[in-house]
Symmetry: C2
Amino acid sequence: MTSNVTIPVLVNGKPVDCISSLDRGLLFGDGVFETLAVTGGEPRFWLRHLQRLAEGCRRLGLPLPDASRLRDEAAALLTGNDACVLKIIMTRGAGGRGYRPPGKAQPTRILQLHPWPELPQECADSGVRVCLCTMRLGSNPQLAGIKHLNRLEQVLARQEWDDPDIREGLMLDGGGCVIEGTMSNLFVVSGENLLTPNLGRCGVAGIMRTVMMELASSLGIAVSVCKLQPVDVEQADEVFLTNSLIGVWPVIGLGERAWSVGRVTRQLQERLSKLETEGTAWQH
Amino acid sequence: MTSNVTIPVLVNGKPVDCISSLDRGLLFGDGVFETLAVTGGEPRFWLRHLQRLAEGCRRLGLPLPDASRLRDEAAALLTGNDACVLKIIMTRGAGGRGYRPPGKAQPTRILQLHPWPELPQECADSGVRVCLCTMRLGSNPQLAGIKHLNRLEQVLARQEWDDPDIREGLMLDGGGCVIEGTMSNLFVVSGENLLTPNLGRCGVAGIMRTVMMELASSLGIAVSVCKLQPVDVEQADEVFLTNSLIGVWPVIGLGERAWSVGRVTRQLQERLSKLETEGTAWQH
């Protein structure tokens, strides 16, 4: 054990927090993960997360996860827990020769239950200030979009600021286009349009990003996936961030530029709240 | 435990192969590693590997490794072993909030002893065939050069071919320049010059790459670090690959292009053999 913190964990179904140092997840970041918000004891957008997990496995050439087993294990781990965070990690397990994966991988399946992070309601209500990170995102279409375990760029970007009033850092690609936040996706409202960066070359296609695009469409708002320069963000009428845990955070400051929380942002927050009280979370 | 294979391992000095699933090495690839050839019971180029490990830690903002403790642990693990591979992994350990590293990291220190891999002497003697990978290397100057744990690009590249006669795949950056092999550095001889790609934007600066450059200089061969296009490789007089385990492998085939093993390549192989019999490995 390298950590003194203990949280509920299942590793390949067993409640023992012990991974071999030969696991390719550790050696190479050879795997994918999902971070799910759990409210009322149920993981939000379960099906969507499972779908992205499977897509990540497909892209990396990992065996597809067994959805019903994952659900059973998640349900077992969640018993007695109300609001928390469920993290699912799938690695290629141990084996292979160097970088070459083994012919028949025996993946490692990890489920962790984290306490709900400190996410002040004020951030969603009054908005947050963000900065622009120096650290760039490398471009790689074959890895873009999926939530793989190679996340050093995000770690280094998150090290760039200490100011607790700055809640997120925006990251550019090598060409200077804005792609996302270190832990969130970015949307801007420009006139009647909702715009979000193209993630075809880098970035993580967040579940909440897709949900937002669907909600916007259902409200009759035109959504475009496009190239965004920093100046496009600065000139936008509204800016907001999304992820599975924060939902929607309005952006009210970037350097000298200040915004008030906009109408479209509020509309989408309200639609999301409504969606989250509908039906069973497992079914989304 | 996620692996049935057991090899000698020390995790933070203890002979128990057990890493917490909360370790940032697993969660984010937040760490660095070294792979050392052990011959005659001693790790080759120990000081150089330790120096690169320290440089990697510095770049990631990890506490610098305690060199004498690492040496003691390596020596203990190596007792009774002659030819094998020593792998050293340093991660940022557990902790922090999301991507944000903890204020005071408690790194995880892993030493593994692997059996010497199957590396036919024929590869060094008669040369190897290589292919050109489709997978590109993403550019990121802040991560370039160091041997960090984000190695999905190499894993996916190594999945591209199955032909056992092809021993290595060359990788290009996003701009189409040749950077390195999946597990090796690349050199070409063009006229009187030895050329190797610039690793300022991507790639791993191998220990054997530096050794080669020094050996070449000592032989009076002009060495240039430069941009190399695939056509430059094809038109080169000699091509070879280096890493700490393979030493120098002459390249004798890339697609339709064939080479015989060249004079400069042979000279460098001989100088390397000579160097490896000089002095104590720990001292290099």
